[in-house]
């Protein structure tokens, strides 16, 4: 009796579960790993409020772009913006989702986070292997009083293609003409020096294991794992430690208003307090999707995110978009996403 009751109850619950999933629309997205922690938190919160589910697969920016082009997902996500010509060719639109940034991390004894200073050209020279010792005059000159040892610098870079790498080398290309001609920019490049670690965790692990190592990771990763990061001199000549505030300053000072399809890489932003290697993640969607209802759902989700997701993003080490940019995105949706 009790057994059959339990069974029928279970069947009922199961049926109810199916019914619920059938009602709620499943929005699917794929792309950059960078935005995954924020998106999954938002998705869980959104699900609690609306019952709608957002499934996001963090397969990498390249994969995200390929998936949205193949129309297997409702939105793709990339850490590098697509050029307006490429968007037009495929009938795609794009908009920023959240802001983060890339920070240099070091393995040097006796140096506290944020204390060691770099400039863009010095970072480029280090990553090209031209500055090979920690007590190089260029480093000593901008770090007076810091105990820089007479030891080799070992460069640690990403071994996998990554949006983190894209933003890092994009910055180095902007500040060092030599980097731009010799190495260039991309989600993976031909590194002139060093060893490669897989993922943020790989770079962090190598940096921790090798004395005198320098690597680069996302800010949220550096903060959570208490890595020793450095400050970087920005365009207006100030040394800026990476923080949520300095990323916000970078986002606010970037020239979004004049960008077409938000095609803008935020590195080397002009603001006085802007951290120079801030980065944006982009969402890519079809302007004329085959499933309009689902595309509308996806836009609704991001609308909800901009209105309610700031606290969740900040708690994870991301920086929410400035209000002016959100307004611009609203206008972009209104003119481009007519579904």
């Amino acid at each position: 009796m009790t057994k059959s009751l339990k069974l029928s109850l279970a069947a009922l619950a199961l049926a109810a579960g199916f019914a619920a999933t059938a009602q709620a629309a499943d929005i699917t997205g794929a792309g950059a790993t960078f935005v995954y922690p924020a998106l999954s938190k938002w998705s869980a919160d959104y699900n609690k409020v609306t019952g709608n589910q957002v499934n996001y697969q963090s397969i990498g920016s390249g994969g995200g772009i390929a998936q949205i082009k193949a129309k297997t997902v409702d939105f793709g996500s990339s850490d590098a913006p697509l050029k307006p010509e490429e968007l037009a060719k495929f009938g795609l639109g794009q908009f920023p989702s959240v802001i983060g940034g890339v920070v240099p991390i070091v393995n040097l004894p006796g140096i506290a986070p944020g204390k060691i200073r770099f400039t863009g050209p010095i970072l480029a020279d280090i990553f090209m292997g031209k500055i090979a010792k920690w007590n190089d005059p260029a480093l000593v000159a901008i770090n007076p009083g810091l105990p820089l040892p007479d030891s080799r610098i070992t460069v640690v870079h990403r071994s996998d293609g990554s949006g983190t790498t894209f933003n890092w080398v994009n910055y180095l290309s902007k500040v060092s003409p030599e980097w731009k001609t010799k190495v260039g920019e991309g989600t993976s490049v031909k590194w002139p020096a060093g060893v490669g670690g897989k993922g943020n965790e790989g770079v962090a692990a190598y940096t921790k294991q090798i004395k005198g190592a320098i690597g680069y990771v996302e800010l949220s990763y550096a903060l959570v794992n208490k890595l020793v990061y450095g400050s970087v001199k920005n365009k207006s000549g100030k040394f800026i430690a990476p923080s949520i505030a300095s990323f916000q300053a970078a986002a606010a000072s970037a020239d979004w208003a004049n960008s077409k399809d938000f095609y803008l890489v935020m590195t080397d932003a002009p603001g006085a307090d802007a951290y120079p290697i801030a980065a944006t993640n982009f969402i890519i969607m079809y302007k004329k999707p085959k499933d309009k209802a689902r595309a509308r759902q996806a836009v609704d989700f991001f609308k909800w995110v901009y209105a309610n997701g700031d606290a969740a993003a900040t708690s994870l080490g991301y920086v929410p978009l400035p209000p002016a940019l959100v307004k611009q995105i609203d206008a972009y949706w209104a003119t481009n996403f007519k579904f």
Binding site: I59, G60, S61, G62, G63, I65, A66, R152, T154, S159, D160, G161, S162, V183, G184, E185, G186, T187, S188, V189, K190, W191, G194, V195, G196, G197, K198, G202, A205, Y206, Q209, I210, K211
Partner: protein, 324 residues
């Protein structure tokens, strides 16, 4: 009288027919299983060649000899990964083969019987550890130790030697081809030693006892009786381990350094075919880049095939010498 006899004849005829049918079915089934291997192998090879055709067309033979790997300029060459794959697998074998010999001979010839089961079980457990665990152990335990003590010592003491010294010069990162070879050695030892142990057990006791009766020492029995009797199977076991070392991905990615440089030094970081594919596949954002990675997969196929063929030829050579 004749009825039962004809019935038996009939039933035996029926039986023969059904037996023949079953036999045919059985033969088809096992033939299909055998062909399945061949078809899978061919399909895998062909599809990788097809996937990599753009890279082969663009770079031609230069793909094999170029050390370039530049995703920005779209120039790719496979020499660095091929070199890294072969060198790390060789280091692994140089370390693993003698140790596996030792383990297998100890277990079959020397060890007291009560110790055989626990050591045998330990080997099988080692074989079951996932490769990512070996990789993490390599990175977090082995690398700091090597970087602190072993690499500086090698650099200082063996580095200045002529010829061999070039293999052991370099910064003491603790990460590099030597470390990858070491981790691979530990990973393939269970495979090689368990095959060897099984094979050594097949040596008839009669042969060994006769040799002992003639006054041979254990060493002599091993070298003159056990090894010649089992040679081809032992080499088969070694090549099973080699196959695994060539294709290992995760553990190598952790400790190899993933840097596209060609160096003579084993202490410097390098790259392997499997590690390159695992690292770069997800973000290979141009058709040529993707095609180059698949072409690398095809080359791993070719490298493994060549290595195994060399093994077969070695075996045939040994057999011919025995015949004389």
């Amino acid at each position: 009288m004749s009825t039962p006899a004809s019935m038996t004849a009939m039933s035996s005829d029926l039986r023969a027919a059904s037996d023949a049918k079953h036999d045919r079915l059985f033969r088809w089934a096992v033939t299909a299983a055998g062909l399945f291997v061949l078809v899978t192998l061919l399909a895998a090879g062909l599809s990788m060649f097809w996937g990599g055709r753009e890279a082969f067309q663009t770079f031609g033979f230069g793909f094999l000899t170029s050390t370039e790997w530049d995703p920005v300029q779209q120039k790719f060459g496979a020499l660095v990964p091929i070199y890294g794959t072969v060198v790390t697998a060789m280091i692994a074998l140089i370390i693993a083969v003698p140790v596996s010999f030792g383990i297998a001979l100890f277990l079959t010839e020397v060890s007291p019987p009560w110790l055989r089961t626990p050591i045998g079980a330990a080997i099988e457990l080692l074989a079951g550890i996932p490769s990512i665990i070996y990789g993490m152990w390599g990175l977090f335990v082995l690398v700091p130790y090597l970087g602190e003590y072993v690499f500086p010592w090698l650099d200082e003491n063996i580095g200045p030697w002529p010829v061999i010294g070039a293999l052991f010069r370099g910064p003491p990162l603790g990460i590099g081809m030597f470390t990858a070879g070491l981790v691979l050695a530990i990973m393939v030892i269970p495979f090689i030693s368990s095959v060897m142990r099984e094979v050594f057990l097949t040596v008839p006791n009669r042969l060994k006892e006769s040799a002992y009766a003639l006054g041979s020492t254990t060493t002599e029995v091993v070298w003159n009786i056990v090894l010649p009797y089992t040679r081809s199977a032992v080499i088969g076991g070694i090549f099973l381990g080699l196959g695994r070392a060539l294709g290992e991905t995760m553990a190598v990615t952790f400790v190899l350094g993933n840097a596209h440089f060609l160096t003579t030094s084993l202490l410097e970081p390098g790259n392997s075919i499997a590690a390159t594919i695992a690292n770069e596949f997800t973000e290979a954002d141009s058709p040529l880049y993707l095609s180059s990675l698949i072409a690398l997969g095809f080359l791993l196929f070719v490298v493994t095939f060549i290595v195994l063929s060399i093994a077969k030829f070695m075996l045939m050579g040994l057999k011919r010498r025995e015949g004389k």
